[in-house]
């Protein structure tokens, strides 16, 4: 469904991604791991077009994404949940959700996401629907960022460190939410620093170091690759 091949990305003159390649199949939940500053977020941004890759290719359901504006990529069925919970602070919770709606997009299968469905699944957001986004707690903001993206009924979502800075109890909520999302037929590519959380929810793993992928494998393979974990992950 998603095929990233030899992507190179820069911020100004600094060369951050040195030929990143990875693949996702429909329905998978894949986790991208790696130490701070290795280029995980930049990889997601390069897929979404927020950072324009200088070389390489990103194909989504057969279409080339490289060089397209983010809004065009979004309209093809990608959703992006950035790090730092970028909710619209001066919009209400309800308006934040409305912003996620893309006209004319249906979900891959099953029931489409709607404001009603979000409120049914997450009553906490309904209670606060008229509050300004900036007034929510960290956990609520994170939920809102994820569901706002879901409102556009994406086929694939890119989620950047959804549990960062959240209390353990809320981390559990957010992870459960992602599992629910995946069960609804959405493919997920997630960046996660929290190894223990990642290992529980993901089917497959990529590990990055210095702007390139250095390991790829499923849960058993990752658990077996002790050397890799020692070298490339915080233990």
């Amino acid at each position: 469904m998603l095929e990233v091949k030899g992507v190179h990305s820069y911020y100004g003159k600094s060369h951050i991604l040195h030929g990143v390649s990875l693949e996702l199949k429909e329905g998978e939940l894949v986790c991208l791991l790696g130490r701070n500053g290795v280029g995980k977020s930049t990889t997601l941004k390069s897929i979404m077009g927020v950072v324009r890759p200088a070389a390489g290719s990103v194909r989504f359901r057969g279409q080339e994404l490289c060089g397209k504006e983010p809004y065009k990529i979004a309209r093809l069925g990608l959703g992006y949940v950035p790090e730092d919970r970028r909710i619209f602070r001066s919009l209400t919770v309800h308006e934040n959700l409305l912003m996620g709606i893309k006209s004319g997009r249906q979900s891959a299968e099953g029931e489409a996401w709607s404001v009603e469905k979000v409120y049914r699944l997450f009553p906490r957001l309904e209670e606060r629907k008229n509050n300004k986004g900036g007034h929510l707690s960290g956990g609520e903001q994170q939920m809102l960022t994820v569901v706002r993206t879901l409102m556009g009924n994406p086929r694939l979502i890119l989620v950047d460190e959804p549990t960062e800075g959240l209390a353990p109890l809320i981390v559990k909520d957010v992870l459960e939410m992602l599992i629910t999302v995946r069960q609804s037929g959405v493919t997920v590519l997630m960046v996660e620093q929290n190894f223990n959380a990642a290992i529980k929810v993901a089917d497959r793993f990529y590990i990055m170091s210095k702007g390139a992928i250095v390991f790829s494998g499923n849960r058993e393979e990752l658990m077996a690759a002790e050397e890799v974990r020692k070298n490339y992950l915080e233990v």
Partner: protein
């Protein structure tokens, strides 16, 4: 007492004009993070086009009130699409320089075509009349300015707070990159907002023409006050622009009455005070 009322009304009229100029400036800044130095030059273009339309071509003030904003809208759209957008990826300093250069070019063109001296634009008929308010005779035109400002402010508030477009605009002010990744054609929104800002400044220029004199320094003159308005009101805030326009308008007006030598200083004192107490401006978001 009646003197007080006259100065109060003068203040309202100037506040109306200030609002019309600063509303577009603050909206463009809030969304695109570009302080558009050419904004006041577009206001001046509005006044000069109006001179040509009213005094040389049609004799109809209403005509220029309708045509000039359209011309400026097109100019704004072209400037955004073919100049600003290309410079955008090089950063804010370059964008600033571009608008600065543009302001300079427009001013020189105006001097070359219309001459480096003041021109008078006359309104006739109804707008040239007077009204009686609490026993004083007051020029209709100044009331008209204030009414225009209220109408424009009202329509903008309606669009911003009651429509889907308004949600998109406010979201883009908060975080335009995020708005883009949610599937909104942000480049088009930028072009529209920039063009609308230019149209609004052109409209303000048409309105300013008969009130103030139309001359090549008029852009500079209003630009300073408009900057003060958006700093005091808070960058990007429409409500802030409304309140700050009223404050600055009245302050200017009563400053002239009470402390003739200090009237400009009062405005900057106010700005300094606001910056010290609430650096993000009266309605600005703390970040």
């Amino acid at each position: 007492m009646s003197e007080f009322l006259v100065f109060f009304l003068h203040g309202l009229a100037y506040a109306g004009l200030l609002f019309l100029v600063s509303a577009g400036l603050t909206l463009v800044f809030g969304m695109m993070n570009v302080l558009n130095f050419a904004h006041a030059a577009m206001y001046m273009l509005g006044a000069y086009f109006s001179y040509t339309i009213v005094m040389q071509l049609t004799g109809q003030f209403w005509m220029s009130l309708m045509i000039c904003p359209v011309i400026l809208f097109v100019i704004g759209a072209v400037v955004e699409r073919f100049l600003l957008r290309r410079v955008h990826r090089y950063g804010h300093v370059q964008e600033l320089l571009l608008t600065f250069g543009l302001a300079y070019i427009i001013t020189e063109l105006v001097k070359w075509y219309w001459g480096n001296y003041p021109l008078a634009i006359n309104v006739t008929g109804f707008l040239n009349g007077t009204v009686s308010i609490f026993g004083i005779i007051y020029p209709m035109y100044r009331i008209f300015i204030f009414v225009c400002a209220i109408l424009v402010g009202g329509v903008m508030a309606l669009v911003l707070y009651k429509t889907r477009l308004g949600i998109i605009l406010r979201a883009a002010v908060n975080d335009s990159e995020m708005t883009n990744t949610l599937g909104v054609n942000v480049p088009l929104v930028f072009m529209g907002v920039f063009a609308f800002g230019a149209a609004l400044s052109g409209f303000a220029g048409v309105i300013a023409g008969p009130l103030l004199s139309t001359f090549p320094g008029m852009a500079q003159e209003i630009l300073l006050d408009a900057f003060v308005v958006i700093v005091v009101g808070g960058f990007g805030s429409l409500g802030g622009a409304i309140l700050a326009s009223l404050i600055i308008g009245e302050l200017q007006s009563f400053g002239v009455l009470l402390f003739p030598k200090l009237s400009m200083a009062l405005v900057y004192l106010l700005m300094a005070a606001v910056l010290i107490i609430k650096p993000s401006g009266l309605f600005g978001e703390e970040s």
